[in-house]
């Protein structure tokens, strides 16, 4: 181990962490919106898979990454509408409909991949976009400011989401609907409307999370590309106590452990790779059991709204 931990390695670990955290940020902040309004969307991983495929395929065919990104967002929106229809309008059990959505995304992305592409191909994803001046700072510049637009946006999303949830009238409505839907209803707020909107915001962001894997981070598509990252994102929402800043902390923690184990493997540390790969997941479970603050959980989480039940 000695000699492995140099400044370059640390800088590399952090640079990798920032990339790895990107899909988690999009997906988990999106899920924060859905859950704040009272809907647990367990289908995030399925949305990410199908959107990752859509982004990859459209980019491959059209040659435009922007079109690919748009396709991912549209797929996310459609799947969000489906989730809302089933769990908000038809009041189905949210956990079950979310799992259904996941299975659909998993199977459909796999099928379309086989039919439309067939073999694993790679594309040129989003290029690093060094930020003038900032990227020239020694060490830090290389670590933080030489990455691509999707990564920057993921981090900018954190304060933006915080601002929307805590400072705007929309955020107030979302939180009211998640905490006390009957109260929101009595003030003439459309509970189901706000839930549709929140689930769809979450799903579009999950779509972008998928795209960030297939056209920015890995630049390829294969079966089950996400390997359950959407589920980790749902767990991060609990870990973060339904706050974008908490989610950021969770995403960074998870990603730095992941980045660390990747670098250790690359550098040939003598840790069995299966154990190393397991580390971040193990950490998630441990962190979740000790950190979740139930007091902040939206009181109406998982409960469909029916007027007149008190």
């Amino acid at each position: 181990m000695k000699g492995l931990i140099s400044l370059d390695v640390i800088s590399g670990i952090i640079h990798t962490m920032i990339g790895l955290a990107t899909p988690f940020l999009y997906a988990a902040i999106g899920e924060t919106f859905a859950q704040s309004s009272g809907v647990v969307n367990l289908g995030v991983d399925g949305i990410m898979l199908l959107s990752a495929f859509a982004a990859f395929y459209v980019s491959l065919v059209s040659g435009s990454l922007a079109l690919g990104l748009l396709a991912a967002a549209v797929v996310g929106l459609l799947m969000g509408l489906l989730m809302s229809l089933v769990s908000v309008t038809l009041k189905a059990e949210q956990g079950v409909s979310g799992i259904g959505l996941y299975m659909f995304g998993l199977g459909m992305s796999s099928l379309l991949f086989k039919v439309l592409i067939g073999t694993v191909k790679t594309i040129d994803g989003f290029k690093p976009l060094p930020i003038p001046f900032l990227s020239d700072i020694p060490v830090v510049g290389k670590m933080l400011f030489r990455t691509n637009i999707l990564v920057y946006c993921a981090f900018l999303l954190v304060p933006l989401a915080w601002w929307v949830l805590n400072k705007t009238t929309l955020g107030l409505k979302i939180k009211a609907v998640g905490q006390a839907p009957a109260a929101a209803d009595s003030l003439g707020i459309s509970v189901n409307g706000i839930r549709y909107l929140s689930v769809c915001i979450g799903s579009v962001l999950a779509g972008i999370a998928g795209a960030s894997l297939s056209i920015s981070l890995l630049n390829l598509f294969q079966d089950n590309l996400t390997a359950g990252q959407g589920f980790i994102a749902v767990a991060l929402v609990y870990f973060g106590g339904w706050s974008p800043v908490g989610v950021l902390g969770g995403a960074l923690l998870f990603s730095i452990v992941n980045s660390f184990q990747l670098w250790m493997q690359v550098l040939g540390a003598k840790i069995p790779s299966n154990i190393a790969v397991m580390l971040p997941y193990l950490l998630t479970i441990v962190a979740l059991t000790i950190s979740v603050n139930r007091a902040r959980q939206p009181a109406a989480l998982n409960k469909p709204f029916e007027r007149g039940e008190s």
Partner: protein, 518 residues
């Protein structure tokens, strides 16, 4: 412009009329050809038992339900309210019995919720706060706009609800059982606020089943029974007894406890302390004796330790310190079954959670405790014939209205469920009875019946602890009244020794010696 831009004090809603309203739910005709009207500046009371259809009627006026038949008019113009938003726009506000507040938001955020903002898309917290302060000043509604709702007392939460309606410019405000959760002092303050609102030109609909309040505040009163209007009268031309008769359909005499000399101490509590659900100390050093043939009423604002005390006695909460003895036998650490054997009986506050199993039949609910005892069981076998005849006898003796012994208990009305629980507990001839909120949500007929039974039990020598938030009930039945405040008993008074106001002061935390001076 948003509603909050209206000029102060000018909020008026015209004459509102509900004509021939019919509303049915599966299996129930909740409102049947109901006509109801209210003039500007009037206080119109809506009186009726639980389940008479008062709330249903008002929820239609507030747009939460749509009537199956009939129409709603304001100043002769027909309006259709598809949601509360439509009703709010028409100048109608509603203070719900179960407050419609978001506990995790501040007062100002709750008031601003769903209203257009002057600084859209941002919430205009500063503007809303100032407006709340103006309204609070004008109507005597003291509350801190910056406080979180979960930090507020019940009385303060109600003020927030009223502020919400005023902020939205409501000219007509519906108050659904507004006094149910208040202390006598808070009721006084509320009435003061309501009078100011009327003086400003607001009209009020006051839903209640408490007659003296209706007599005190209203101009007119409409009585509903079984979904139908029994009559509308000018309040000054009607007596309390007439209203009761309209409400219940028969005469109800007030219960009266015969003077009795209590016997030996049956329940002795010394130095009892216990934690509450939130992990803070909810009971602090309680000392209390209850004698045979005595009812001790435990009064207090909800959440001051009454529930925890009842649960400690019932064996559902573990005390931190102190002793409880029943008939000289220490039961502080006894299991539920041992307590039953020691002669304790318990009528729980949450009857559907702790007192009965919803899906079980009437008969099965009778045998939640005694299923292992002779003559109902021998070894591992149950004697169904014995159980059935015993259950049938209880249902008959306590006049529980049920379709059959096999009906799931959830299909019974609250009053009948309570009668059945009471039958079960009393059939064991307990030495000590803890009755927590025995008549909450129960209609006048059943309440009257339950009161009679409690008094009978007292005469037969049972020591009874009656926990209730209904001061009238406490005063009518209790030989002594113990008042709880913040987990302590801050005073014990004999029957007739203290007035409602004095007890109210103690409920608000004023020491007994000071309260009794006033």
């Amino acid at each position: 412009m948003s509603a909050n831009a209206r000029s102060d004090g000018a909020a008026r809603t015209g004459r509102v009329e509900m004509r021939n309203i019919v509303k049915c739910f599966p299996g129930v005709r909740a409102n049947s050809q109901v006509c109801f009207d209210i003039d500007p500046g009037e206080v119109h009371a809506l009186l009726g038992e639980n389940g008479a259809g008062k709330s249903t009627l008002m929820r239609q006026l507030y747009g939460m339900y749509q009537p199956d038949e009939g129409e709603i008019l304001i100043d002769g113009r027909r309006l259709v309210f598809r949601s509360p938003a439509d009703a709010i726009r028409a100048g109608i506000g509603m203070i719900h019995q179960h407050f419609m507040l978001v506990p995790t938001l501040t007062v100002a955020q709750n008031v601003a919720l769903g209203q257009p903002s002057a600084r859209a898309p941002l919430v205009d917290i500063k503007g809303v706060t100032e407006r709340i302060e103006t309204l609070a000043q004008e109507y005597g509604l003291k509350v801190d706009p910056r406080a979180y709702v979960w930090q507020l007392s019940v009385g303060e939460q109600q003020r927030v609800e009223i502020l919400k309606a005023l902020y939205r410019g409501a000219g007509l405000i519906i108050l659904d059982e507004p006094t149910a959760v208040l202390t006598p002092q808070e009721v006084k303050d509320l009435f003061e606020t309501l009078r100011r609102m009327v003086a400003e030109g607001h009209s009020l609909i006051f839903i209640s089943h408490k007659l003296y309040e209706v007599m005190a505040i209203s101009d007119r009163v409409t009585v509903l029974r079984d979904g139908k209007v029994i009559g509308t009268k000018l309040t000054r031309e009607v007596t309390r007894d007439e209203l009761v008769k309209m409400m219940v359909g028969r005469e109800v005499k007030e219960v009266e406890a015969r003077p009795l000399t209590p016997g030996p101490v049956r329940l002795r509590i010394r130095g009892l302390s216990a934690m509450g659900d939130r992990g803070t100390e909810a009971l602090k050093d309680i000392d209390l004796d209850i004698r045979s043939g005595e009812i001790v009423g435990l009064a207090g604002v909800s959440g001051n330790g009454q529930r925890e005390l009842a649960e400690c006695l019932a064996g559902m909460r573990r005390p931190l310190a102190g002793t409880i003895s029943a008939g000289g036998r220490d039961i502080g650490a006894a299991s539920l079954n041992e307590r039953v054997d020691a002669g304790m009986a318990y009528i729980p506050e949450e009857r559907m959670r702790d007192g009965a199993i919803r899906e079980f039949s009437v008969q099965e609910n009778v045998f939640l405790h005694d299923r292992t005892k002779a003559p109902f069981a021998r070894g591992i076998f149950l004697n169904f014939a014995k159980m059935r005849s015993h259950a049938a006898a209880l249902v008959r003796d306590f006049s529980v209205k049920t379709a059959s012994l096999d009906t799931p208990i959830k299909n019974l009305s609250g009053g009948n469920i309570q009668k059945l629980i009471m039958a079960r507990e009393l059939s064991r001839k307990p030495m000590v009875l803890v009755a927590a909120q025995p008549t909450r949500g129960v209609d006048i007929g059943a309440t009257d019946y339950i009161h009679q039974r409690l008094l009978e039990q007292r005469e037969s020598g049972t020591a009874i602890l009656l926990v209730s938030e209904d001061l009238d009930e406490i005063r009518a039945l209790s030989d002594r009244i113990a008042v709880m405040y913040e987990g302590r008993i801050i005073g014990i008074v004999e029957r007739g020794e203290a007035s409602v106001e004095q007890i109210g002061l103690m409920m608000a935390g004023v020491a007994m010696s000071d309260a009794m001076k006033g």
